[in-house]
Amino acid sequence: MFAAALWLLASAHVGSPDVVFDGAAGPYPVRVIVRPPDVVPGLADVIVRAVEPGVEHVTIRPVFWRVGVAGAPAGDEMSRVAGQQDVYTGRLWLMAFGSYSVYVTVSGAKGTGTAIVPVAALATGRLPLSRGLTIILIVLGSLLVAGLITIVYAASGESLVAPGEPFDARRRRRARLVTTISAPILALLLFGGSKWWNAEDNAYRRNMYGAPAAEPTVAVDATHRTLSVTVRDTANFRTLTAPLIPDHGKMVHLFLIATNGSNNFAHLHPVEHDSGAALIFTGEVPALPAGRYRLFGDLTLENGLSLTVTNTVDLPAPPSVVARTDSDDAWTMTSAVPIAAAGAVSQLGDGYTLVWNDSIPLTSRDAVELAFTVRDSAGKVATLEPYLGMVAHAAVVRSDGSVFIHLHPMGTVTSVAQQVFRARDLGDTTAHGRLGPSALAASNAASASMPAMSMSGAISFPYEFPKPGRYRIWVQVRPATRVLTGTFDVDVH
């Protein structure tokens, strides 16, 4: 009841706090959904789907980045959902602010394997008192106050009268006097209590997560249109306490999305400059038309925390010659955006098409599979080249900009955050919990034994839409040499 009344104010990603992971726990394919709590310490809901036959036990552990598995409590056995052969649920306490991973360990006929699912534990919501609870507290509180006043009257009057003696007028007067004096003292104490409550509430608000600010500036000359984004903590809660770590080889994944409803979209990788206090990213803007754009920047820190910063930026008209940008930058300006429906087709360019496979309608707060097929000009399923280490990327944005998420076929998590946790478990950390210089290399070697990625043009992204509304989805793939972008609009109920 209380959770439903909660206002969602923020999450580490924009409006999309739930974590969805599709991957493997050793020999077992798993889908893991983690709904982190809005307050810390708080309970995260974990749902695991393990379809492989022979699964006997699924356990979950909350692992905090600083201490790794060595400082994690023993795993909790998840319970199988009644009537569901392969769905398990459980809850975990996330006690400290910052970067956690849920370790999902599956054991059964094929042995034991663990999947690492990074989760951010941050205070993101504030719970108002519900009407019912307010009434209950007022009634009980009033009874207590009235009872206390009666007790004071009895304590200063009748209780002092020896049995058999009368509770006379003089004693009554005295009791009334004491009660009258103590009433304002009681009122003062209640007032102090409410002041204290407010102070605690303010302290809580100060500790709430606020995404670091992203301040864009654009400089234009005859041959360049250069975008600089300065990222710094502005909330009282410090987020950028660890260095950045490259995700898919990039320090930031920056998305520009036109606010005017057109399909102008770019996925860019500006370069980070060593800048002391703030993080500054600079890069060339490709041939997008002038106008107002929403800007979303995905960052991952060395403690495994992934976050998104956001703002709007007004792009001036491009110069006549557009400078080269990062070779992995990709953008689109196609005008027609198809509405999602089974079999709907989005043009990727170069003769390729992107086909929507999923059934419609989609419902929010429900695990969905956003499934697509990339076809070549002959209609055959294309074979894809890796783009930034992944078979495909997707960006999902709600029409009002209140939700943004960068998806991969493995879900909402970034693989580098998983590597961070793996590296810590190998002991590749410094005394202060920072990653040692060779940590990620060792962790990469450890993960090299994971199953090879499929490069088929049949791709899918697991996701949970956080709320109903119209969303636009950009899917980026590399069927040949160029990165191509397809787009769909979808209504989520």
Binding site: V39, V63, L137, L144, T150, A155, L160, E200
Partner: protein, 377 residues
């Protein structure tokens, strides 16, 4: 003492013991295991204590109101048309406060996160409720003591000293966050203890008809705290929450009890010599100064031992009772005293302020003890 009155008094005392043992167990649970539901045995013991106290007093109220003998009705007070001894009403009120704190605390956890703090508004409501359970038991027995003949009186007075020990325990546990070992040489610690203990000790010393009343209460307090501290450590436990920074293998107990017993002896001596011979304000000043001086003389060197000596870090003195989530830097700091902030008042001045606070709260305690001496119902 009538038989019916006797069972009620003993039930109230048992309830108060249940609640305080439950509170101790609960805090130890949070320090060692961490994971919390409404149904932990510690919570159940606290709630059971509250319900026993409230239920027994509720029964007494209904019985006295509708079926009470003239003698029972004559030793009761009126409350919204019902009749029961004052202590019963305080117990019922305490039970009500504990029940009120439950939904409030539950909301608090949902709104601000599961608390790792003892001192939060819903916990204060709970602590006031718990305190009222003990106070109710105290007043129930007190009214009987004040009416009793010599033979009964002695027995009742010892029962009161036990309840006094529970009340001191309640106060000491509530002040845990202000009395951690590294703070035992700080001005704030002596000021806060001066605010609380002289008040309680003088109240109890005046109200309980024993020559060494404050000492007896403090002895019960010390005995119960030590017994719980030594026994609870015998039980194995592992943290069920993370991050875990400390290797916890058994229940972690609260720290060695404060040496309240030393100033309690001093307070008894002062009251034996001067109570009734000088005015209360003057007596309060003497008590306040004696409290701070003796408490300082005892706690300061003992704190030095607890903080610095490796001998103190075993189970007996329990000076390495680290909560599972305490970071290694905290552990390292735990073996040093917190230094006074730059610009803080000199310690001597702070101790004078503490003596002033102790004198003021002693005066309130003496006056309240005076009232307690007169309670007959």
């Amino acid at each position: 003492m009538s038989n019916s009155g006797r069972w009620h008094a003993y039930t109230a005392v048992v309830a108060a013991v249940c609640v305080m043992v439950g509170v101790y167990w609960d805090i130890s649970w949070h320090m060692s295991i961490g994971r919390d539901t409404f149904w932990t045995p510690a919570h159940l013991l606290i709630q059971a204590g509250g319900l026993i106290a409230g239920g027994a007093s509720g029964y007494v109220a209904l019985h006295t109101t509708f079926r009470g003998t003239p003698a029972e009705r004559a030793s009761s007070v009126n409350f919204w048309g019902f009749r029961a001894p004052l202590g019963a009403w305080i117990s019922i009120w305490g039970c009500g406060a504990m029940l009120t704190s439950a939904p409030f605390d539950n909301w608090w956890h949902n709104a601000y996160g599961l608390d790792v703090k003892i001192v939060s508004p819903p916990h204060v409501v709970l602590a006031i409720g718990i305190f009222s359970i003990a106070l109710g038991a105290l007043l129930l027995v007190l009214a009987k003591q004040n009416r009793a003949t010599d033979r009964d009186r002695k027995q009742l007075a010892w029962l009161l000293a036990l309840i006094g020990g529970l009340i001191l325990m309640n106060l000491a546990v509530f002040l845990t966050e202000y009395s951690e070992r590294p703070w035992l040489h700080s001005a704030l610690f002596y000021e806060i203890t001066a605010l609380v203990f002289p008040f309680a000790l003088t109240t109890l010393a005046r109200a309980i008809k024993l020559r060494w009343a404050a000492t007896a209460c403090a002895a019960f307090f010390t005995g119960m705290m030590l017994a719980l501290m030594w026994i609870i450590q015998l039980f194995p436990a592992t943290p069920k929450l993370g991050p875990i920074y400390q290797p916890v293998t058994h229940m972690i107990a609260l720290s060695f009890p404060l040496l309240i017993i030393v100033p309690a002896i001093g307070i008894d001596i002062v009251l034996q010599r001067f109570d009734g011979r000088v005015d209360s304000p003057l007596l309060a000043i003497a008590v306040g100064v004696v409290f701070v001086a003796l408490f300082l003389a005892a706690e300061w060197p003992f704190a030095t031992f607890l903080v610095t000596s490796p001998i103190a870090r075993g189970a007996f003195f329990n000076a390495a009772n680290f909560v599972y989530y305490e970071s290694p830097s905290h552990t390292a700091a735990a073996h040093h005293f917190v230094r006074a902030a730059p610009g803080a008042l000199p310690l001597s001045v702070s101790l004078l302020i503490a003596a002033g606070i102790a004198s003021a709260t002693s005066l309130v305690g003496l006056l309240r003890g005076e009232w307690m001496r007169k309670v007959r119902r």
